[in-house]
Symmetry: C2
Subunit: 201 residues, 2 copies
Amino acid sequence: MQYQSLLAELIDAFCCLPGVGKKSAQRMAYHLLDKNRQGGLTLSASLQQSMQDIGNCNRCRDYTESDECQICQNERRDETILCVVESPSDVLAIEATANFHGKFFVLLGQLSPLDGIGPNEIGMPLLASRLKEGVIAEVIVATSSTIEGEATANYIAQIAEQEMGEQIQVSRLAQGVPVGGELEYLDQSTLALSLANRKLI
Amino acid sequence: MQYQSLLAELIDAFCCLPGVGKKSAQRMAYHLLDKNRQGGLTLSASLQQSMQDIGNCNRCRDYTESDECQICQNERRDETILCVVESPSDVLAIEATANFHGKFFVLLGQLSPLDGIGPNEIGMPLLASRLKEGVIAEVIVATSSTIEGEATANYIAQIAEQEMGEQIQVSRLAQGVPVGGELEYLDQSTLALSLANRKLI
């Protein structure tokens, strides 16, 4: 086996990042060596600490380095609305809208029996016990608009009805034409759906 | 100041990489946390070691973690041809062609008196002493085709003549139409140059 230089190892290591191939990895390695070694060291320290210390929130399963995440700990957020999402990055996307002030629950996956992912794997027992606390009045199910996402949403609706009956409303994100979207480029299913669900103005 | 979570710090740290903005940084952080923590730790270790241990080769100024780089140590490469480039990434680019079997010298910059970069800053004394060893028969100057690059090339030609007179040939990379390039998209200067330097077939 040929001896690998540190630089070659670094370039290989960068290739583990999504969207980074050999060329970009080279550019990153040389950029840091040439111009920003301090930035490289900061990234190294931050990576190590994050990979080791970031776990999941005991209450909502979002990523956090504490027992409970900042959103769960924040008392100014509305405890009565719970938004259920598939992954931590969905939390970030919804937070970026600055239009949601409730709490979150992160499934870390979607129901997919063929892959061996059942209710227990996506935290359903934890969600059920959370619903039983009796504080939540509305569950917004923000899973993907795929077959698995829809199945997961239906399952959550069932759980909510079983646990709390009429006391909990379950809603789903609206579907239709995206803002700024042009009709001619929209897929047929979405267009059909937004025709069927048209709103009076 | 608001408390920064580890995750937010990691996303900020990724932004120091070239071509990585907020969105890509988020994607990278979540990808590693979700799917490849081991890869993240490997990257962290490799980054730290590289930023601390990679210095410059004593002989050619290329990046290396040893006193002399692998190319300088390789006795199967032709000592009589020296390719002078501006940066370590140029070495990589030329090595990738697999068409050069001589040795390198890396300037780590280009002559630019207005920015305070004179001959001493780009390793000219080291290059001069290398030429004086009397082994080198040809110097290929592969600096950029910019005003500073040309000035640097001329300076190197002068040094070579001063030190060794007629014993050293100095050449410059050929300029012209790139392979696969279409004439209609080529800039005027390059086209004019390749007309003037046309070759008989």
